[in-house]
Point group: C2
Chain length 284, copies 2
């Protein structure tokens, strides 16, 4: 841990500052507008690593044309104060020009795990994610990297990329943090008005009801998904985009839940798209 | 420099051995069957870096179905002796299973620079190259990496990838080494019989004649390429696949040579495909 937090923009500044860090080095990549979920990643990194690098970059290549890149919430001043309070060693705040200079033309793609779920609905999203995470890994050379379970497919895709591309990096996937009523923390929750915020708890309610059925012995993925559908459909402000009950490793849809399963859903509340998931056959 | 050369196969062994190297670390990636060209890269690395890692891996994903993967020449014993004699610190000899384990599904692609020349004739070749080089970079975390000018487009593509993916790695492109008669050193020269070996010098003769015309003021890319064509066509054992006179940075074909140009060609001598190039408007 260094005395004060170093904030860098350019790759050369980062590489220079990186030289002085003691290992192991933990990386917490974020898109900023930090909440307690991000901070839980930083704290886990702080526990496990001698040095911690956090990055803040709203990565344009993981947003499709019709998505919320322009209005994605930003508050760098607040973010930096929060990271400073957690004794982060280096914060890398690259600009879009630093990350995607003129003539940029290189992409990292994971082929199979990116096809279902979020990948089927957000074409190009995971190509943007794996490309930028690969860049963050290359620039910061961490020993460990921290991601949230809330973006379950993202964590699985990055795990696959890390293994496939021979990165000597251990991924740590930390539990989803939730508000008191169960809503998963997300920077996008800031889009919700009061009524929508109340309605948004329907994702957690739906997952919880399905989980109860699972604990009582229900093993049909269809029945489990129908429970989720029914709960979400009972909320007038919510519109279900998908619900999936898939093998946790391969993300292939299950018929019978006889393996660790990822139960996940995407829901529109007003114009705000929210995702959440539970792991079935596990601790959560 | 450590006392004796460490030879590793698995990624974990490499990562462990890598910890003990003093920086800067130089990487020399090879497909083995080493010749003086490779050794010149190792020596340059030895001059510029405190530690040197060499890799030997005949990368299957950069060979197309119809290409010479199976018969590509191999002599690991001899390679290791040569690297030992150059005081290489670590040699990484991964197996195909280490590099591409079951379920492998991640690819690194450079979009534009890979389209012309070798890329137009060898579909998928550069995807294999950038993917494996990215893996070698990730696993070895070098400060500098050494490539030969003989594979000019490969060097340009890897340079683009290195910049685009934010690798803090300096690429060093070393001059092509040649036999006394001018034939560029290549592991594939071992495929040639005595007559073919004599005929193979036609690549160098063609480039040299074009270079003379260039030094005498010729600036038409068409005329320069026609000189190459005429020389190659005068050799009965040689069959020209392509000749190109392209901008050195973008690899876009030129009409007038008013910038640094890459004059390159691919020629079949019997069943053996040879490539070579000169830079025009430069020192070579």
């Amino acid at each position: 841990m260094t005395d004060s937090m170093i904030i860098v923009t350019k790759l050369e500044e980062l590489s220079y500052a990186r030289c002085f860090l003691d290992g192991p080095v933990g990386l917490v990549p974020t898109m900023g507008y930090l909440h307690a979920g991000h901070i839980s990643l930083v704290r886990q990194a702080r526990i496990e690593c001698k040095s911690v690098i956090a990055t803040i970059f709203v990565n344009p290549t993981q947003f499709a044309q019709n998505e919320d890149l322009a209005k994605y919430p930003r508050d760098i001043e607040r973010d930096l104060k929060m990271l400073q309070a957690e004794s982060v060693d280096i914060v890398w705040l690259p600009t879009t020009e630093v990350m995607y200079p003129a003539g940029y033309q290189t992409w990292v793609e994971v082929e199979n795990l990116t096809k279902p779920l979020e990948g089927s609905i957000r074409p190009g999203h995971f190509r943007g994610v794996t490309t930028v995470v690969s860049k963050l890994f290359n620039a910061t050379r961490p020993d460990k990297a921290y991601f949230g379970q809330k973006d379950a497919q993202q964590a699985a895709v990055i795990q696959q990329m890390t293994r496939d591309l021979s990165y000597p990096i251990k991924l740590v996937v930390c539990p989803t943090l939730r508000d008191a009523d169960g809503l998963a923390l997300s920077s996008r929750n800031s889009y919700l008005d009061i009524d929508q915020r109340q309605a948004a708890v329907v994702l957690f309610r739906a997952l919880s009801k399905a989980k109860v059925a699972f604990s009582q012995g229900e093993r049909s993925a269809n029945v489990i998904c129908q429970i989720v559908r029914d709960v979400v459909n009972s909320e007038p402000l919510a519109r279900l985009q998908y619900v999936s009950c898939a093998d946790y490793e391969t993300l292939v849809e299950l018929e019978k839940i006889n393996t660790r399963a990822l139960l996940s859903l995407a829901v529109f509340v007003g114009n705000t798209r929210l995702i959440d998931n539970f792991i079935l056959g596990n601790m959560e």
